[in-house]
Symmetry: C2
Subunit: 480 residues, 2 copies
């Protein structure tokens, strides 16, 4: 039902084949270029900036030197057979290159160009021919119509991932969209999240979602598997692979194609069939997959998984300086299936003593009275809140803008230090909300302070969200 047949049979899953491509020790870029605004140029430049950990061969019959590097006229002139060949040449010129790949015996080919199945009959024929050459030559294809692979361990990078982190993390992201593979990876890494790998696989002519899902299920470098899917090539194998994956690792899936117009877009984007929404929703529920929709939500969920893990608990202690935030947070929490239970007993009594000032309201939500209160009181209240056993997660709205008005950056820094100390000493999961007050082009002061504070908190295991709804939705999702 979920399957899109191509007329060439799927191969059974082979971990080592995929490992050989993702961890390629040598790489050739066919269509390497120094000409600005060409895919070959972005790709070459990104790989050079990322400093690929192994021989990197540039291939182009019309160039002698690119960015100071020797260029080979064709694959057969290379001093060795590269593990992986990245083709950054137009679709119609790919087939002859694939013949060389077959003859040389490469392990894998990443086909970047569009112009295959997604454009209709002519492209379908071309894609089938490519796949037959792969079967004959014994190599595997990633793509076509994709951005390829980013792996920080061997420093392979997808177009245009020149600025991706060189440090590996524990998240694998598989994406049928090239754009979103880059978009998610960039936003995530700027929030301190690291990847074991990012794979943009486009049309999935050969290696598909199910192969990569199985691979990252077994991959020892990966703790969290996230995916953006348009359709599924291996409709028979996917449900089982999903069951196996989510049995051992958190799986987050952003599946598009519910609506009629999305289905049209999916067909023209990667030539996929989106599949039945009911089947998808059933699969996601059955295997306790975390559903995501959009880049922001995906990154929010990954942040919660990274810092809180799976199912950290649904009972929140909501704290802020000002009553309005609490009135609102409870509504959002309840709508998301979280709870904000009342503060009771001795904990409430102690909190009342700590916050015995006009304007503060000891309870849950907890209103400390003003965005910034004297630091000893603040530390006392936060410590009491973090020690509360009837809640699982403490969420603090830091109101950095008001704080900046009141105490400037040094004052805010002390607040951050207190939060970090409490997180470390109590072990209580803590999320902080930092929002930007102003979007003026000429007022970047608070934005800069906000980003510094965010980095500092993230480094110390405190996830930071731009709003109460985004924080609470992410917490709700990892509790599914």
């Amino acid at each position: 039902m979920l399957r899109v047949p191509m007329g060439v049979k799927l191969l059974s899953f082979d971990f080592d084949e995929i490992a050989g491509i993702i961890n390629a020790r040598s790489l050739a870029i066919v269509g390497a270029s120094g000409a600005p605004m060409k895919f070959g140029s972005f790709y070459t430049s990104a790989q050079l900036q990322m400093e690929f950990d192994g021989p990197l061969y540039l291939v182009n019959p019309h160039e002698k030197e690119i960015m100071g590097r020797k260029v080979y006229p064709d694959l057969k002139s290379l001093p060795e057979t590269p593990d992986v060949v990245a083709l950054t040449i137009p679709a119609h010129r790919s087939i002859e290159m694939l013949r060389d790949c077959a003859e040389l015996g490469v392990k894998g080919v990443i086909m970047i160009a569009s112009g295959f199945r997604e454009i209709g009959s002519k492209g379908i024929a071309l894609e089938k021919e490519a796949l037959e050459l792969a079967r004959e030559g014994g190599f595997r294809i990633v793509g076509p119509n994709c951005f390829g692979i980013y792996n920080p361990r061997n420093r392979m990078t997808v177009l245009p991932g020149y600025d991706f982190s060189k440090s590996p993390g524990r998240i694998a992201f598989i994406s049928q969209s090239g754009g979103y593979s880059v978009h998610v990876a960039r936003q995530a890494q700027s929030l301190g999240l690291g990847f074991s790998a990012v794979v943009s696989y486009g049309n999935a002519a050969d290696l598909n979602e199910t192969d990569f899902l199985r691979y990252f299920t077994l991959d020892g470098h990966t703790d969290i598997i996230a995916g953006y899917l348009e359709g599924v090539m291996d409709g028979d194998g996917f449900p089982q692979a999903l069951a196996e994956a989510s049995a051992v690792k958190p799986v987050v899936l952003w599946k598009v194609g519910r609506s009629e117009s999305s289905r049209r877009a999916v067909a023209s984007h990667t030539g996929s069939m989106a599949g039945s929404s009911e089947i998808w929703e059933g699969l996601i529920r059955q295997h306790e997959v975390i559903p995501a929709s959009g880049v922001d939500e995906m990154v929010d969920i990954l942040l919660a998984l990274e810092h809180f893990g799976r199912r950290p608990g649904r009972r929140l202690l909501m704290a802020s300086g000002g009553g309005g935030i609490g009135t609102y947070a409870g509504d959002i929490a309840e709508a998301e299936g979280l709870s904000v239970p009342p503060l009771e007993g001795e904990c409430l009594e102690r909190m009342r003593v700590i916050l015995s000032r006009a304007g503060a309201v000891a309870g849950n939500p907890l209103d400390i009275g003003a965005p910034l209160i004297p630091l000893p009181e603040f530390e006392g209240a936060m410590r009491e809140a973090a020690s509360n056993h009837s809640t699982d997660i403490l969420v603090f709205d830091l109101a950095i803008n008001f704080g900046h008005d009141l105490a400037g950056e040094p004052g805010l820094d002390l607040v951050g230090d207190i939060l970090i100390r409490i997180r470390r000493e109590t072990g209580k999961p803590l999320a902080v909300v930092l929002y930007s007050r102003s979007f003026d082009p000429d007022k970047l002061v608070v934005e800069r302070i906000l980003r510094r504070m965010r980095s500092k908190l993230l480094e110390q295991g405190i996830p930071v969200y731009p709003s109460i709804p985004r924080a609470l939705r992410a917490i709700a999702r990892v509790n599914i």
Copy 2:
């Protein structure tokens, strides 16, 4: 049912009384202070920076001069009776000042301090006493437990609105929360939205939500009424006032207190009773009020109202450079009750000719092929899209980050110019999505460019959103 009785009867609505307060020609601040970290100091400093358009009297028996201004020991020493007195003194000291106000015959008193009804029986008694003095003295109260009034026409400003715009706009925002009155106003003004007035009215001991709603319904300076409500004081009058307001102006309401914990917070914040969710939802539906939840959503909706007006249509043309955005947008659109109808007939044919390149997909969603394509092609495609009569609004995802990689700021500027020209020449409602790729503290370059581009587009009538879901939700809401 929605009512919270105070034991002192509500007065019938009087437009001129409220106008006399909001448009006060003279203002006294009791509790004015030069001491840092005191409410009186923030309030004084904000009013001075805003340059109140009339006599501004500072009152404090313990000071002779504050921020270079003469200080009076008490209200009776002032050279004239001020229209409005703002009390920035603790609750227990307010009553004696209200006696002076009653004797002098002021028009209105803004009571900032908390410590009234929201703290229980002692505060309830104090609030009742204040209200009785107001009735005796013939003045009206705004508050207590509020931030007060911002009116750019007479340059009155709420705490801490020192940086609010001096230029009036057409939105009135009434807010039971002081914090949110400031938060919404700041975010909105940094996106080019202007206010006729912002009123933070807190406990609503005297003038309440219904009075202000009626006032802004009649107010000639106001085209859009927005509100943050915790409860309703005038349960009998409010439904009628809401019916009258939404019959003549768009009304956006953010009502909190659906959940149990929000109700607790509402009670301790402004001593309000949140009222039945079912009654609220019924009222909002019946009177075609636009519901909002949270600061971001409120500002997004106001932006759509400002640039598109009410009910601009639900049929979207979604355009971007890259297939992934279209696959996703359709799902969001459908979930929000919007549509992305197929591009058909001659329009489709013309678009195919304009975008006759590999990678571009003529249709709806429209994939121009890459984040930036040659400018004549881009202008042609956007002009064709804007001229399409089977859609109401064109939404373009500008992918400013990729654009910056490809063309730098000058290239992006040309893209912005094309969008502005097309908006102006075709009159087609156009929304642009600009998102930030990176949140690194040391990478503010793209953020700065993004903000400049946003300001430029906003000035030319093009609303800008930070994501597809936020753009589409706002468009859906103004179509309610």
